[in-house]
Point group: C2
DNA sequence: CTTACATTTCAACGATAGTTGAATTGATGG
DNA sequence: CCATCAATTCAACTATCGTTGAAATGTAAG
């Protein structure tokens, strides 16, 4: 992920409704949620949600697929992971103060450090 | 870090000049950089930089100290680390697709997973 | 083919964020 | 104390972002 894309991703997440959308989609898992369901959950007008969804999609943080007459949105895990890594690379370069706590936090996750088998 | 603070941090980083400032300060290390030096490096007017520095400071991403007639700014590693962890917690909850690549990337860092001794 | 539903596009408005130059505050040095 | 340098505050302006309602698009059901 280059700086330009990271910038777009940060800007996308720096908005209340868009951050809520991402959190809802991550929670929903790979099956995702229809635009209408998202609008209800986040509490914005559908026409407004479309605007935000386009922004998140352009930033590479969510993906969409048509299913019947609905459009299903889901989290783009690769994009989210890239963003975390951008932040780590930029902040860890010669400075472990950032990475070390993160590494420690990974233990609390169900993602054992170094184990990429179930990715 | 709560959602409100994370939102402010994302919004702060989602601006070209502010992202450059953070990168410059992380690169500079704990010694930091004077406001004037930052202005030169990032390429913005000093009066404009003050605006951005206040925003970054309010988001908990940078810190400042007065030194002689200069004000020295430095990266707030704890704040940056908290942000990474917020992103991981929200995105790793039940979904290892995000965490696993990050854990793998940590190996490339000089921060051995689980080792918090030099933090 | 017509109707109904889900979502997006469009144009317009109001609010917020970013930039600029002038004036101000705080810290040294003569 | 006065002149100078570094940084911030302030007020004004412009540009961009977020929101809204009306109209358009695409999809399925009768």
């Amino acid at each position: 992920m280059d700086e330009r894309q990271a910038l777009a991703a940060f800007a996308a997440l720096g908005q209340e409704h868009r951050l809520k959308v991402v959190r809802a989609l991550v929670t929903a898992g790979p099956d995702g949620l229809a635009a209408g369901a998202l609008a209800a959950e986040v509490g914005v007008a559908s026409t407004n949600l479309s605007f935000h969804l386009k922004e998140l999609s352009h930033a590479g943080l969510i993906a969409s697929r048509r299913e019947g007459r609905s459009v299903i949105y889901s989290a783009a895990y690769a994009g989210l992971s890239d963003l975390v890594q951008f932040l780590m690379r930029d902040c860890c370069g010669g400075r472990p103060e950032v990475c070390a706590p993160v590494a420690a936090a990974l233990s609390a996750c169900d993602c054992p450090p170094g184990d990429t088998a179930h990715a």
